[in-house]
Symmetry: C2
């Protein structure tokens, strides 16, 4: 067990379950609620570490599965760990890559021992076990690490979900036993969309005693109402004094809802991925800079935004860079979207401190036009089909 305190709640919202907290690691303190940009391959796509810091990013997320395949754990270990390798000296959370193994890779055999899969890059065969996943993350030197879990696709087959959940529990125990305590290990709650399984999962995982708790296996194709119902019920069962982490969520409106339900950490590739497609967050919603309306707009994408992109360039210039497929486009859009999210979580924290979170949430959603739920779900399912979480139609 970790000898030092890892998390404390600083301020709680009276009307909701929102709270401001502090995560303490050897590489510094992270104030929550917080959003973690995704650096799956050891780089937040298009950006340098200095740019991330300028944007206000305090912790990033990387992925053991990706780094294990390329460049390999050895190479990173010899480069002074992941922090030295990618020149990022603030906290890093690494995911086990369970989700990627069950989606990107070609599965060969899942057994109690572990997972045999073929690499999505060169087809080579690999066995990963809970013990190896912990060892890899210890060698990567990340600050917060995750156990291997079995991620089953979104399904209404309860026995399938139950089986994956039970294996996740057994792997969680082995991860905890194999863990040397220098890093903070979080537990992952599974159980699909079945409240009674979620309840059972919380019971088992919290009884083992982790430094934090992640909710996995949601936002994988189900409608939002179900997501939030499961989150609300799960959070109620989780201990107050440990951080709560919703894996794979990053749309502004979802962060607000997640915070209201008591979530402290969020990660998602969404803000950076949609940026590279030209979809930019603004106070009125997500807009495509490729739209002809921007061709001659001399103002910034979002007038008043303090990000480098908005301070320096017009929407017209960014439109031009996207239309001509200039590489600078993806970078400038990524800076804007990450700064938007970084400012959003800061405003959320401020409003919790000031006791105005609920009105801030309401106000934000009054002007921010969210993506239509039907469109969102079809886009999400299309994406999940592409990464094989959902079967082909």
């Amino acid at each position: 067990m970790n000898p030092t305190e890892h998390f404390r709640v600083v301020k709680s919202c009276l009307g909701t379950k929102a709270r401001v907290g502090e995560i303490i690691t050897a590489r510094g303190k992270v104030t929550t609620p917080v959003f973690l940009p995704v650096a799956s391959q050891g780089t937040v796509k298009t950006l340098t570490p200095e740019e991330l810091k300028d944007i206000g990013i305090t912790i990033i997320m990387s992925n053991t599965y990706h780094l294990y395949l390329r460049p390999g754990i050895d190479i990173i270990e010899r480069s002074g760990g992941l922090h030295g390798y990618m020149a990022w000296n603030k906290p890093i959370l690494t995911d086990s890559g369970g989700y990627q193994i069950f989606s990107l890779a070609s599965l060969r055999r899942v057994s109690d021992e572990g997972v045999v899969f073929r690499s999505h890059i060169d087809g080579s065969e690999h066995l990963l076990t809970p013990e190896l996943i912990i060892q890899f993350q210890e060698r990567l030197g990340s600050d917060i690490i995750m156990p291997l879990d079995e991620c089953c696709p979104y399904t209404d087959d309860k026995s399938l979900v139950c089986q994956a959940m039970e294996r996740t529990h057994s792997w969680a125990k082995r991860c905890l036993n194999h863990h040397h305590g220098r890093q903070f290990l979080y537990g992952i709650i599974q159980g699909g969309v079945f409240p009674e399984l979620r309840c059972q999962s919380v019971e088992v995982i919290t009884s083992l005693g982790f430094s934090g708790y992640a909710i996995g296996g949601l936002s994988v194709g189900e409608v939002k109402e179900i997501t939030w119902a499961i989150v609300a019920e799960t959070v109620t069962l989780l201990p107050e004094d440990k951080p709560r982490y919703f894996m794979g969520l990053g749309a502004p409106e979802d962060i607000l809802t997640g915070v209201a339900l008591g979530i402290d950490l969020f990660d998602s590739a969404l803000p950076t991925r949609v940026a590279r497609n030209g979809a930019l967050f603004t106070s009125t919603g997500r807009h495509s800079i490729r739209n002809a309306a921007y061709k001659s707009r001399e103002e910034a994408i979002e007038p008043g935004c303090d990000c480098y992109t908005c301070r320096t360039f017009s929407a017209a210039y960014l439109h031009h860079l996207f239309r001509t497929e200039e590489l600078l486009a993806y970078r400038l859009a990524t800076i804007h979207n990450l700064r938007f999210i970084s400012r959003l979580v800061r405003k959320i924290r401020d409003s919790i401190h000031q006791g105005t979170f609920s009105s801030f949430q309401k106000e934000f959603l009054t002007s921010y036009q969210t993506t239509d739920e039907e469109v969102r779900l079809s886009q999400k399912q299309k994406w999940l089909r592409r990464v094989k979480v959902l079967p082909e139609l």
Copy 2:
């Protein structure tokens, strides 16, 4: 005519025709010899203006043809000119785009009036005249502008070259007449690989009186010996007190030779284009970072190099970014190559000041392994065929 002095020679080399000079523009002074990175579409690919300045870039080059097609001159003019549009407040030289019209575009008709061509983007038909090209560059607000010239492909058909040269001369006169004098207009010497045509071209163009002189139509597929013979002869005929600009040259060894022959300005997409392919300049030559040897190299690409990339990341990390096709790769490689060239021209200027240019050149070329001439020429011709300067085999 420009009322102010535009150029002065500060120091000349005794053993060669190399010299240090100063170009004066309303947006600042540029010390020569200097290399101009190419920002054809209003961006030096992958980089921000701040990064260019950190690298030591003092002047960049853009392209009227590209900007005319996208986003259009109107949009840039309304954004405060090209400087405001791309947020670059130091000098800009714009090329007319003659070279691109005769290579990228689909030519319809060349007459004394001008050029009718179809856009390489959408096939739309356009007429460009010498007068329009000057008007466009005045509206872009660049500091140094170029006349429209007829670029004929590399050929031993002297009458063809002569015809293009004569049209270039007539267009040069019209450009000069249409020019309002707020910007510095350079003349372009044509004449292919024929010394007597080059001589004739220098005579006509210098008699018109421009602020500087560019040598065009070289490095378009001929062997290097011919390139340098023509440059050497041409420079001898050019006035001492005007800047001399070799259009389209950017390999380190070529810059050294060009400087020795009296060239002051160089531009080329080569350093940035090869960077995006993973070919990096070092003191021992150009090396591919994709090579497996770099997979676990913990030192910088070039130990001792002061560029951001070398100060921050290992060669192993850059190798990984290229192998995983991460967008950050192209940017870090571009920074390194441009800084290499920027340091090279600074060292050239220093050595001219110190009277050690010849020994510096010799020393540099002792360790710097240049690309084999046969390989170079075949690569160049392949490239020129792709952009249609040379016909398909």
